[in-house]
């Protein structure tokens, strides 16, 4: 009897562990979703890591770019330009939590694109950026 209870408890423990570490989505899923979105734009020819890299560093308005907070190396820890708060690495290779929750991804693109570009980013820009980030190694 005791053994049954014990193994049952153990099983529950393992299950909750598995649930905790499993992410809702993978960066690949999110890239695929962006590709579907971008495909509806006429002339779409796929994503490019090179374009993503220049987008990441390009300062268009307000003297701001992604790299202002996430630093030139997306695998490094960043710092909030305003508050100085530490920002965990942007590249999935250095931070497995990145790009694993579509809701979170949408939230941060909406906020940060508006801060940096005064507008939302296009699916092309988001896809290029993620393609670049996925090429970054630790």
């Amino acid at each position: 009897m005791l053994r049954t209870i014990f193994s049952f408890g153990l099983a529950i423990g393992f299950c909750s562990l598995a649930v905790n570490t499993a992410y809702a989505e993978t960066p690949g899923d999110i890239l695929a979703a962006l590709k579907i979105e971008a495909s509806s734009t006429p002339g779409f020819q796929g994503f490019s890591a090179a374009r993503g890299k220049s987008f990441y560093r390009n300062k268009e308005k307000h003297d701001l770019s992604c790299s202002s907070c996430h630093t030139d190396n997306p695998a490094a820890e960043g710092k909030h330009a305003e508050t100085g708060k530490l920002i965990k690495p942007f590249a999935p290779a250095a931070n497995p939590e990145r790009f694993t929750d579509m809701k979170k991804v949408n939230k941060w693109f909406r906020r940060n694109c508006n801060d940096v570009l005064d507008r939302e980013c296009t699916a092309q820009e988001k896809g290029d950026l993620l393609t670049y980030l996925l090429t970054v190694t630790k």
Partner: protein, 170 residues
């Protein structure tokens, strides 16, 4: 056997009573230690909203609800798309939940009627609490701004702003 059981339960009851008494004493002395002659106990409310804790700490330390009145929080939450120079907008359901939490735990101190204060550092309470802080601390590059509580309040991220955890950076 009967006597043993009775003895045992009496001992157990005594033990529990002693434990409760000790916990009470610890609680009271803790509350006294935190008394910085203001209403602030230095600690988070018993129930912390999980969305408030994660969303409001993404870019800065999560400023406790008790440091601003409810109308200030309502004004802040209504203008998240232009939040002190950053877009901090939330989905409507999350914003509603956080606003309700902030309202419920807001400061009940009397405050001036008129335009709600949007910065904790502009409240009379905050200014009075910090009036003895020397200018050199504010000029220290490690103190990003007056909003950078964590620079000196080393346990601010846990909602604990009590004086005994203040350490000025060098």
């Amino acid at each position: 056997m009967m006597i043993n059981t009775r003895k045992f339960s009496r001992a157990l009851a005594m033990g529990v009573m002693v434990m409760v008494a000790m916990m009470y004493v610890a609680h009271v002395s803790n509350a006294r230690a935190d008394d910085d002659d203001d209403e602030d106990t230095g600690h988070r409310p018993a129930i912390v909203d999980a969305k408030w804790a994660s969303e409001c700490s993404a870019c800065h330390v999560a400023y406790p609800a008790r440091y601003l009145p409810a109308d200030s929080w309502r004004a802040i939450m209504a203008g998240l798309d232009k939040h002190f120079g950053s877009n901090a907008s939330l989905d409507p359901a999350t914003a509603r939940e956080i606003t309700a939490y902030l309202e419920k735990n807001a400061s009940t101190r009397r405050h001036h009627a008129g335009k709600p204060v949007l910065r904790i550092t502009e409240t009379r309470w905050w200014r009075s609490e910090h009036r003895e802080i020397a200018a050199r601390h504010w000029k220290n590059p490690k103190v990003k701004s007056r909003a950078d509580c964590e620079a000196c309040h080393t346990t601010a991220d846990k909602g604990d702003f009590s004086e005994r955890h203040v350490k000025f950076p060098r």
